[in-house]
């Protein structure tokens, strides 16, 4: 974290949708600040509006109310300084690993040589060497998620948004991928905003946790996590914090 320099600021963000006979509010008056190079985890119960919040930061949808500031300037819609890793991968099945990862650079018109060099760096960083020419359906769930992470980093975003990237992985593959993500974050020194409904995962990763309420989402609490890394999920401080946050979490049946 860089001396609490504010990288991203959300001011009173709300989102609602019109349904058949009603107005459904997903996010209600969320304000928060994200510091430069911070690993911020947004934690909330299932279906509480976490993804909606992230989509608004990414500019995929526009909030009905509130403003978003990046480096102090208001942004409207998507910004190339913000990249995203999706929960449901969004890989192109007809393209190889390397073609998926370099796609953004290709759209920007970067020449093939520079493009391949940049792409190769991130392929190695996430440990996919040897799979450059594989297609997504030839990869395991964890490996597909690595492609998504490499693709996002390749576009050199200043802020990386990760929307429950490990939601569909089993508990053990998750542990492996969490270490991977921390390693890449440590090597790249970018700001990460990571959304999850998994408290153990949040505590393992975060510099700070923003706890959201059940739907419509608002900020319940912010926790600074000062445990040293690598963290141990069965350490008593870890479990103590887990209980504290769990007791403050809404049950969303």
């Amino acid at each position: 974290m860089d001396n609490n320099k504010i990288k991203l600021k959300l001011e009173n963000i709300s989102q609602s949708y019109i349904t058949k006979d009603n107005v459904f509010t997903a996010v209600s008056g969320v304000s928060l600040e994200v510091y430069d190079r911070e690993f911020l985890v947004i934690l909330g119960p299932g279906r509480c509006g976490k993804s909606v919040l992230l989509n608004m930061i990414a500019g995929i949808e526009k909030p009905v109310d509130g403003s978003i500031f990046l480096d102090g300037e208001k942004i409207n819609g998507s910004d190339e300084r913000i990249g995203m890793v999706f929960q449901k991968l969004a890989l192109m099945p007809w393209k190889t690993v390397i073609e998926n990862i370099e796609f953004g650079l290709k759209l920007k018109g970067m020449n093939k040589k520079t493009r391949r060099e940049t792409t190769q760096k991130y392929i190695e960083l996430v440990g996919l060497e040897g799979f450059e020419k594989s297609y997504p359906n030839q990869l395991s769930g964890g490996m597909k998620q690595r492609v998504g992470i490499a693709r996002a980093y390749t576009n050199s975003p200043e802020i990386l948004l990760m929307d429950e990237p490990f939601g569909q992985l089993d508990a053990q593959t998750r542990y492996a991928m969490q270490d991977e993500v921390l390693r890449v974050w440590d090597a790249e020194k970018r700001t990460v905003i990571f959304v999850t409904n998994n408290l153990e995962e949040a505590l393992y990763l975060a510099d700070r946790i923003i706890l959201l309420s059940k739907c419509p989402a608002h900020v319940k609490e912010s926790y600074d996590i000062n445990l040293p890394r690598p963290r141990n999920t069965t350490d008593s401080d870890f479990l103590h914090l887990r209980k504290l946050i769990s007791d403050n979490t809404d049950l969303a049946l």
């Binding site: 119960p45 299932g46 279906r47 939601g167 569909q168 089993d170 508990a171 053990q172 593959t173 542990y175 492996a176 270490d179 409904n197 998994n198 408290l199 153990e200 069965t234 008593s236 479990l239 103590h240 887990r242 209980k243 769990s246 979490t249 809404d250 049950l251 969303a252 049946l253």
Partner: protein
């Protein structure tokens, strides 16, 4: 006859050259709650599909009450990770569905379904359709539908894999309540060691492929279990080391 409800003998499965399961042997007592844990990709799903008779074993077999397991005769119930309620039936009709297929008398059906609805507090959802429910509530319906059958063997394949921790403990407590109330015999498969220790009377630790049983562990901790107690953490760390690959 022994007091074993389920006997698994020399269970082995090959797919062509791929040797998935290797000579698995274990017994389950009537009314026992067993959890099965193992490393990712160790063949848990193949194992389950053999128990449900979706696949037939290459060698060995599964016996229920001393007889070769037969889905037409024995009551095998499953709960998978993805909820699978019948979409055009209400909650109550979903709960009755299996019992009607088995041609149980109507009076008996009504009383069993009523019992489950009360145990799970599903009164307000009785007439709802699956699409009107949250994913977790739909999963609860499936779990109720499995227990209402009074199954000889209930197989659960990581039903709470994607739930948040708070909800997971709520649902785990519910499953324990149902298990105690119905006296069912349960095999619960999970990747999550904390979950296995929270639920099981006994856990089976599987090896990598070709899969066999590495160790059986009896869990004697009192219920409800305290996941922060030193005994709990000690066993959790031990089991983690037995299967760790990450």
């Amino acid at each position: 006859m022994s007091n074993n409800k389920i006997e698994v003998k020399n269970l082995t499965k090959h797919f062509g050259d791929l040797h998935v399961l290797d000579d698995i042997n274990f017994n389950i007592k009537k009314g026992e709650f067993i959890c099965i844990v193992g490393p990712t990709g160790c063949g848990k799903t193949t194992f389950l599909n053999l128990l449900t008779r979706i696949y037939m074993p290459s060698k060995g077999d599964l016996y229920i009450d001393g007889e070769l397991a037969d889905p037409r005769k024995h009551n095998l119930a499953f709960v998978f990770q993805e909820p699978s309620a019948v979409p055009w039936k209400t909650v109550e009709q979903n709960l009755k569905f299996g019992l009607e297929l088995k041609k149980i008398p109507k009076k008996e059906i009504d009383s069993r379904v009523e019992n489950i609805i009360n145990l799970m507090g599903l009164q307000e959802f009785r007439n709802s359709y699956p699409h009107q429910l949250s994913v977790s509530t739909e999963q609860r319906i499936i779990i109720g539908r499995a227990f209402v059958m009074n199954p000889d063997l209930l197989l659960m394949d990581e039903p709470y894999g994607q739930m948040d921790i708070k909800l997971r403990f709520y649902l785990e407590d519910e499953v324990i309540k149902l298990w105690k109330a119905t006296g069912s015999t349960v095999v619960f498969i999970t990747h999550n060691i904390e979950e296995a220790l929270y639920l099981a009377e006994r856990i089976l630790i599987l090896t990598n492929k070709p899969t066999t049983i590495k160790e059986e562990l009896k869990i004697d901790l009192p219920r409800p279990r305290d996941i922060t107690s030193p005994e709990f953490i000690k066993i959790r760390n031990y089991v983690t080391e037995q299967i760790r690959w990450w």
